[in-house]
Amino acid sequence: MALPANRPRPAVLEQIRYSGYLITKNSLTTVGFGIVLVLLVIALLAPVFVPHPEHAVLGTTNVAEALRPPSGRYLFGTDELGRDLFSRVIYGTRISLQIGTLAVGLALLIGVPLGLVAGYLGGFVDEVIMRVTDIFLSFPPLLLAIAVAALLGRSLTNAMIAIAIAWWPWYTRLMRGTVISLREKPFVEAARMMGTPATRIMVRHVLVNSLSPVIVQASLDFGSVILTSAALSFLGLGAQPPQPEWGLILSTARNYFLVAPWYSFFPGMAMVITVLAFNLVGDGLREITDPKTRRL
């Protein structure tokens, strides 16, 4: 009993330490990790260093200063209602990271248990779950997210739910594959023969050992999820004014791009940097965990 239950732990620790070594070895991945850390700090400390938090949090307007180009006073310029874009873009980091975490988290929460159950139990349950998954997978994710968001009505929460609905089947499928490969492994068999209840085996042995591909995939998806939510906001299906969400800011900026071309630049750059960082991290993690490309 003690042996299989404790088996993965030291290996995981060692893996983390080893992964850390590999991460620092790949410069692009290091950069990605660095940016993500900086973004987290920015998001947490936003209220401390932003000049006009009220422009971002409450959306207080200051129309006399509308559409000012970037200057020492307004680093990124102002929007059509005279709000400091720097403050809004910085606060937007919080929203985007929140969206990423919540939407991916929700998708994992739906997708992982289903994949686990399908893969471990097999048979009829597997059949049903995978058929449903197939149906969801036959929609391009952005399309499904748009359709669901349009149905649920316009709000950021609904946009996140829509994204989760579009994303969970990927985790189910991935999870199921991993679980099936683990199902017949000796330590699982051993646990089974010792009479451990199925749910306990699923959680303590199979789940713990099959999470790493899913986690890698989730970190890769973080970027696309942020992009998708911005796309929804851009189409008017996500954030609501005056939320300083990047997609919504860009969507508004589009109305002024001939008069104020700088308006769209900074929120867009912020988004590119964020998504890029997560993609680099995700790629790096995948290379590390994939034995085929793993370098020593």
């Binding site: 959306g59 009505g153 316009r154 004014p241 005056p242 109305n255």
Partner: protein, 527 residues
């Protein structure tokens, strides 16, 4: 590396071709027909049936169809179009119109009294769009080919009704008899107007061409064709205007107009309009059912900032629900100001000294001006301790929500553009403020006051024969509405029309929003 070379060659060729083509721009052709090109932000044709139209179609319909009279509200004058003159009995119940002779429909059929009767009767029977403007009509007679008589069940000003921008078009009933009642709605047209339909593509463009047998005749300098292009992006539309590809853009942000105004190549025509903006307050919900709270809201709007920074001075603060320039408007009525101290006092008197409630405001998506108003107001309300929850949604969704059978679902605040069907104070007061229990039209304040109802209906019945009395009754109704504050009367808009400077002869008529009457226009010089 052969493969890579082949690819890079292909890529370079592609890039070269594109860049080379980027260099050549096409020159305008000589001798081509002179086309008046309009860039429209939306598909202008929702409904092709002139009986049903109650919206964005009229700029196209008024080029193809005509009404018996045309109203010039700034001069308060009626111009004869298909009718040459008219009179009314002293009781205001029988109106006789004598028609112009020699007028033909696009299909060749002659226009006469029977067609007038059939057109209006069909419009009334269909009961779509603005058909309600004929509610008072009991019967229409055509005793002679050039004479039409309207018999009313109660007096209304029929001369204004037949000049309505909606629901008063004369169309060819013969075409419908021959080709089926859906003929128009299937995308056909047959009127007496100067231009006839040549072709159209849904969501893309409408092309009209001159009708040779038009009763006013043709001279050299009229435009040959009208092309309405759908260009949803205002940036694209402005580009097309600057490149000389279009003559007129229907809707441009004020920021762009400010820039174009400085350019002599464009004519920015500003004139009064009858379009105004209300914020309708849900008057049956706590705490908005207290008139003092509604007055406080009326005092919390930064009117001056909105007019200066959102509307760029292309609007004036409203005095009451009837816009300035229309009869029945009274500049002496009460006007709310931006006064947060007064608002606080009123809230305190109503039992909300620190606010402490939140309100839901719906805004039609894509409307920049309304969104800006909402966002600016949010900041002011926050100072009063009132939280404003702005929800943008498609107009239809906003509309459904406002009429939701579950009263609790409905919004607290609805920002609405309003403009008249029949050009009269009645359109504003009856449309938005009389009791609408059985079904709601635009009374999205859900306001009900028998006193206002009586005044408004009384005024309309007097309007045909006793304008002075009607004006007085409208004034009283408006005074009550301003005290009771079921809505905030934010601003009266101005019509801002952007045209290429080569287009001459344009005079805006606020009774017909966005209608250009292209027949009256001509070109001098080059686009």
């Amino acid at each position: 590396m052969k493969g890579i070379r082949a690819w890079s060659v292909a890529v370079s060729v592609l890039l070269l071709v594109t860049v080379a083509l980027a260099g050549c721009r096409q020159a305008p052709r000589a001798g081509a027909p002179d086309v008046f090109v309009i860039a429209n932000n939306i598909d202008p044709m929702w409904s092709w049936d002139p009986a049903d139209s109650f919206g964005e179609e009229i700029p196209v319909l008024f080029e193809m169809y005509e009404t018996l009279l045309r109203y010039h509200p700034l001069q308060d004058k009626l111009e004869p179009v298909l009718a040459e003159d008219w009179d009314v009995t002293p009781d205001g119940l029988t109106w006789t119109f004598r028609l112009r002779s020699g007028v033909k429909f696009h299909c060749g059929h002659a226009f006469d009294a029977t067609q007038v009767k059939k057109s209006i009767d069909r419009t009334r029977e269909r009961g779509m769009g603005a058909a309600f403007i004929w509610d008072a009509v009991e019967r229409i007679d055509a005793p002679e080919p050039q004479t039409v008589v309207f018999h009313l069940s109660y007096p209304i000003p029929v001369d204004l009704t037949v000049a309505s921008a909606y629901g008063a078009f004369m169309y060819c009933p013969k075409c419908l008899e021959e080709k089926g009642d859906d003929h128009y709605n299937n995308g056909n047209a047959c009127g007496t107007g100067p231009y006839k339909l040549e072709s159209w593509r849904r969501g893309d463009q409408v092309l009209l061409t001159r009708f040779d047998d038009y009763w006013r005749g043709w001279e050299d300098n009229h435009f040959d064709k009208i092309l309405v292009k759908v260009v949803p992006e205002t940036g694209t539309a402005r580009q097309m205007l600057e490149a000389g590809e279009v003559d007129h853009v229907r809707l441009l942000p004020f920021e762009d107009i400010q820039v174009l105004k400085k350019n002599p190549r464009f004519n920015v025509a500003v004139s009064p309009s009858f379009q105004n903006v209300y914020i309708l307050i849900n008057s049956i919900r706590e705490p908005l059912n207290d008139a003092r709270v509604r007055q406080a809201l009326s005092y919390s709007i930064p009117y001056a900032d909105i007019i200066k920074y959102v509307m760029h001075d292309y609007a004036t603060q409203s005095v009451g629900p009837v816009p300035a320039g229309m009869w029945g408007h009274d500049p002496g009525l009460k006007q709310y100001t931006y006064d947060l101290t007064r608002a606080r006092e009123l809230l305190a008197a109503a039992g909300y000294p620190n606010g402490g409630f939140s309100l839901v405001m719906t805004v039609a998506s894509g409307d920049e001006n309304h969104r800006k108003v909402a966002e600016m107001w949010k900041g002011e309300l926050a100072k009063l301790g009132i939280a404003l929850d702005i929800r943008t949604m498609p107009f239809d969704a906003q509309w459904d929500l406002a009429k939701s059978p579950d009263v609790k679902q409905r919004q607290d605040l609805y920002i609405l553009y309003y403009w008249p069907d029949v050009t009269s104070p009645q359109a504003f007061l009856e449309g938005c403020f009389v009791t609408q229990d059985d079904y709601i039209i635009f009374n999205l304040s859900y306001y009900s006051n028998p006193l206002v109802d009586d005044l408004v209906y009384g005024a309309w019945q007097a309007a045909g024969t006793d304008r002075v009395r009607a004006t007085e009754l409208y004034r009283q109704a408006q005074a009550i509405l301003l005290e009771d504050a079921p809505a905030i009367f934010v601003y009266d808009m101005q019509n801002v029309r952007v045209l290429n400077a080569s287009v001459k002869g344009f005079k805006d008529n606020p009774a017909y929003p966005y209608v250009l009457f292209v027949y009256d226009l001509y070109r001098e010089g080059k686009r």
